[in-house]
Amino acid sequence: MSAITTSDVLVIGGGIQGASAAYHLAQRGVSVQVLEKDTVSRHASGVNAGGVRLLGRHIAEVAMSKEAMQRWHQLDDELDADTGFRARALINIAADEADLNTLAQREQQMHGLGYFHEVRLNQQELRERLPFVADHCVGGVVSEQDGYAIPFHSTHAFRRAAQRHGALFNEGEQVEQIRRVGNSWMVTTSAGRYQAEHLLNCAGAWGDLISVMIGDNVPMSYSAPMLMITARMPHFATPVVGAVSRPLSFKQFENGTVLIGGGAKGFADRANNRTRLDYKLIANGAKNAIDFFPIMKTASINRMWSGLEGYMPDNLPVLGKSPRAENAYHAFAFSAHGFQLGPVIGEVLADLVTTGESRFDLDPFRINRYDRKVL
């Protein structure tokens, strides 16, 4: 058996949250080992739609998401890398009166909380920003400072920045056992043994399995949100586009390709690292895209795929200290909207490790928030 590798912190999971945590910790002089069962950015962090979205965030996430957004705008400089980030307005389209009512209510709620970054658009304003939108779309809401990035590049940008500060990444090492011995965490992987004072669970769609090893139960499920990308087409949309109530989401990149998401889920075969697409359901996403933007009818689909993602019943992440184990922290199950939060989650985790607290209210994200509820 190999010698035990020791560090201050062990991070389980080489996705954007794990890589960002490693970066923030290493930057503060903390020694970090990252354990990744496949390769860095292999799953949701590498294959998601790349939306950097503040618009429409759950109230509990708005403060963190705003902070993350500011970081995104300087992230390439901070990490000395190309994350592919482009600042683009994000517009959610209202398709009918009911959508407009939803937006009015949301505005009232947000203004009441002192958030003013979501601005409603009337039909004409919508058309000015999206000239190719279908006639039946009646309005929308915009967040000006949103955008998109290239997920694979972004996650690797964090990885490389973390490495420059001394963090070490161990790929192809699946965690097999976690034990608490004295004041240390002892972790055995498929390739080695590790010991550290602090343990971070950033295991994404496998976060529930790591939680159980740490000693926390969690009602996480996992699924395979589906995406597709078209061949290049003439430029027709600058903003990133979503819809108030329909499962539609797309962005046109500078090279003309259009990435279409919308949340339809395929089939997740987590044990085998595989996903299968549900073609009838993804067809529905194609239909929505054409309904809102008839110009997309003739777009050619180049590739369809899905990635494995962890979900909580309330679609909010698990984030914070373990309530039952010392010096263990969770950040997983971001329920398909964790990518944008990446730059701030690393900071939150680094704060928890080095100071024991966070400046954000993490109560809504407690791992045991369902303990007394019957699901």
């Binding site: 390769t39 429409g56 990885r159 949100p225 279409i260 180049n302």
Partner: protein, 484 residues
């Protein structure tokens, strides 16, 4: 017929078959003939308007006045296409299969509409494609593959005067010979077969003598080209296309000298490799074949893949040639008939025995051919930084080197870093090059490097067509919303 078969034939299951065969070339046609004879309900799906595959393309409807000029090996396909059209298999021509699932689901596109069908057994017989030939300038207009020259010839009777043919392998000599017989002027044949291959191939000469008629056929073609007065440059290497916006000539080294031949058209060819996109997207296991320098699905002698109900026959399984493909089609069909309980184990084995033996003999000859026409490293693994590796996204060797430096150690990682392989061909044209480049840079075996993770659709599909493939109403459930 057993009960299951009866169930599948009932009304309401009209889109369900015992066996679905993808591809109507020699392997697919002979599989369909064998399977229907034994009573299986078979459907054959093919993207071309007529059966025959690449090799027998238009054999029963040639646009040429004298199709016999294309040679006996071509003409003999007519007998097979005729038997196929009589066999009673359902046959959909001109359809694009864009998804094959490991659950037996097949999605195909016909006249802009997608249909779904299921089959208990699937035979993938979608043939081969030409090996990429990544030399400087191969992406320029005017440069095509020798295979496309043959497609034009067989489909439309179109030819190109004064073109250069460059590369190695039987198909290259065949198309040059066909051009000569049709009276088309050929500027030059630049043969890249290295001298060393002739010596190396001698080790497999016993295999060559197992099929002397094929050996003679090959020699005959080369003599025919020489006699016709075509300039032949031998043992050429360091090929580079001359030209800025379009091809103007070819530069290469032959006989110790740098040569330049001017021409507006160049047909490149250095052998064929299995068409991987369906088997890869399906997720069956593949292995790297050192003999043929290509990825192949892992198969048993019956053509069965790592998924029992998915078999692969013909060149899609590894290059076996038209005659080998025909045998394999029969063999895989016999095994599937046994799995469908339409033949006993004993019947299956006795029916296949002679074919299995013949196939083995052919494979010995194949070893010789593969050795003789093994393309040189420099023409497979580019060394010039300006060489375009990914033609869709125009990524050069220099771009890939940079991606490797940034951590792109696996094909998918390199793709993520550089976009190499992300274009409309989904890596068809760069996959092998990338596997071999990474193996060299890492100092590993190609088998350890692997290949791209492929996904459907295997053909470009319009959003409109996909949108119509739906019997669901839009969901208004915000719980399913994902916007990251």
């Amino acid at each position: 017929m057993n009960d299951l078969n009866a169930m599948c034939s009932e009304q309401g299951f009209k889109n369900s078959f015992d066996i679905a065969v993808i591809g109507a070339g020699p392997a697919g046609m002979s599989a369909a003939i064998t399977a229907t004879e034994a009573g299986a309900r078979v459907i054959v799906l093919d993207d071309k308007p007529r059966s025959g595959g690449q090799i027998y393309r238009n054999v029963d409807a040639s646009p040429l006045k004298q199709p016999e000029q294309l040679g006996e090996d071509y003409l003999k396909g007519a007998e097979l296409t005729a038997a196929f059209s009589r066999c009673g298999a359902e046959y959909l021509s001109g359809v694009n299969v864009w998804h094959v699932g490991d659950n037996g689901e097949i999605l195909l596109s016909e006249n802009g509409e997608t249909t779904r069908l299921t089959a208990r057994q699937i035979i993938i017989a979608n043939g081969a494609m030409e090996r990429p030939f990544p030399i400087p300038g191969w992406h320029l207009p005017g440069v095509m593959s020798a295979g496309s020259a043959q497609v034009m010839l067989k489909s439309d009777g179109l030819v190109q005067d004064d073109a250069i043919f460059a590369g190695t392998g039987p198909l290259l000599y065949l198309i040059v010979a066909q051009y000569i017989r049709l009276g088309v002027r050929v500027r030059a044949l630049v043969d890249t077969t290295p001298k060393a291959n002739y010596f190396d191939a001698m080790a497999e000469i016993a295999g060559a003598f197992s099929a002397p008629e094929m050996l003679l056929k090959g020699l005959g073609l080369i003599n025919e080209i020489r006699r016709a007065g075509v300039t032949v440059y031998k043992h050429a290497h360091d090929l580079a296309v001359i030209g800025e916006d379009k091809m103007q000539g070819l530069r290469f080294t032959s006989g110790g000298n740098t040569q330049e031949v001017q021409a507006d058209h160049l047909f490149l060819h250095q052998g064929v490799i299995p068409n991987l996109n369906i088997t890869r997207a399906l997720g069956v296991e593949h292995s790297w074949c050192e003999q043929q320098l290509c990825w192949k699905p892992k198969l048993n002698q019956w053509g069965q893949s790592s998924l029992e109900h998915i078999a692969v026959a013909g060149d899609a399984s590894g290059i076996v040639g038209a005659d080998g493909a025909r045998l394999m089609g029969r063999i895989t069909a016999l095994k599937q008939l046994q799995l469908l309980s339409l033949k006993s184990v004993a019947e299956c084995q006795s029916d296949a025995a002679a074919d299995l033996q013949k196939l083995q003999k052919m494979q010995r000859f194949r070893k010789f051919i593969d050795r003789l026409y093994r393309p040189i490293d420099l023409h497979r693994i580019p060394e010039d930084d300006t060489t375009v590796v990914c033609r869709c996204e125009e990524r050069t060797l220099a771009d890939l080197k940079q991606g490797f430096e940034l951590g792109g150690r696996l094909p998918d990682q390199l793709k993520g870093q550089t976009r190499c392989g992300m274009g409309p061909c989904q890596g068809r044209m760069c996959g092998h090059t990338v596997s071999e480049l990474l193996a060299r840079w890492r100092g590993d075996r190609v088998a350890d490097v692997g290949y791209y993770r492929l996904r459907s659709p295997m053909r470009l599909l319009t959003l409109q067509e996909l949108s119509l493939f739906s019997d669901l109403t839009p969901s208004n459930n915000p719980q399913t919303e994902v916007k990251s």
